[in-house]
């Protein structure tokens, strides 16, 4: 893992799902992940981009809390089963939160320099943002 340069791993894709919200405090992350999984279950080629607060979902130990919401760990663990293998994280979003690529061990993700995030969205013919 490392910061990739554009073109290296940015093959064209069908649907990019962008996750911008933290796993707790709202249902955005869960509902975004569910959309990604359904698309994959329908045989679509899906990519996931974690950016903004969404990068927090990649920290280990996102368990169910006092609010009784299900933790996001299980959903993320299921991604591989759904053949969602192209997962990206925005390096700038990590850095802004004092995190590095070593902290995001929950999933195999490709860390993208912020400028390449733009290139990524252009690689996919459709984008859903949550």
């Amino acid at each position: 893992m490392g910061i990739v340069s554009p073109g290296e791993s940015l093959a064209p894709g069908e649907l990019l799902v962008i996750l911008r919200h933290a796993p707790h405090g709202s249902s955005w992350l869960r509902e975004g992940l569910e959309a990604a999984m359904v698309a994959a279950a329908f045989g679509r080629e899906v990519g996931l981009l974690f950016t903004g607060e969404g990068v927090l979902a990649l920290l280990e130990g996102q368990q169910a809390g006092a609010l009784g919401q299900k933790g996001s760990d299980n959903l993320l663990a299921a991604l591989e089963m759904y053949d969602v293998e192209r997962c990206y994280v925005d390096a700038a979003a990590l850095e802004r939160r004092g995190l590095s690529e070593n902290d995001v061990s929950l999933l195999p993700v490709t860390v993208l320099a912020h400028a390449d995030v733009v290139a990524l969205t252009q690689c996919f013919s459709r984008v859903l943002s949550f």
């Binding site: 069908e14 649907l15 249902s27 955005w28 509902e31 569910e34 959309a35 359904v38 698309a39 279950a41 329908f42 679509r44 013919s125 459709r126 859903l128 943002s129 949550f130």
Partner: protein
């Protein structure tokens, strides 16, 4: 052009539904096709049959109905997001032992697969969140 809209914002809480409606009406007025409006997240409340806003405010549900009445737009609501939030059609209400239902045609409960399809089968999908 063939368009689909995704609406995630709750009516009267956020601007999203109002903007989506005005955009949808403008699309049809310009002669474009609007095949699908998909309601997800808090957007599912747009389908609430019991919605009763003050008379001097836009009645969002009625406006969606007006759009559907033009004949070519389907109003689809994510069933998982809707059931969690208390929006059940007659069939789901019966299935869950509820005495009344809160969602009815032309709104239809569908799966998230319809959002994926709307995303890929139209020229444009525009999200209002």
């Amino acid at each position: 052009m063939r368009y689909a809209l995704a609406v995630y914002g709750g009516p009267y809480s956020q601007q999203a539904s109002h903007s989506a409606l005005r955009f949808a009406e403008a699309l049809l007025a310009r002669g474009h096709q609007l095949t699908t409006v998909f309601f997800y997240h808090d957007g599912v409340y747009n389908a609430a049959s019991m919605m009763a806003p003050p008379q001097d405010e836009p009645h969002l549900r009625d406006r969606w109905l007006g759009l559907a009445a033009q004949g070519e737009t389907r109003l689809q609501v994510c069933v998982a997001a809707a059931l969690r939030r208390g929006l059940l059609d007659e069939r789901e209400a019966t299935r869950h032992g509820k005495q009344s239902y809160t969602l009815e045609a032309p709104f239809e409960l569908t799966g998230l697969g319809q959002l994926v399809e709307a995303t890929l089968e139209n020229d444009h999908l525009i999200t209002f969140a």
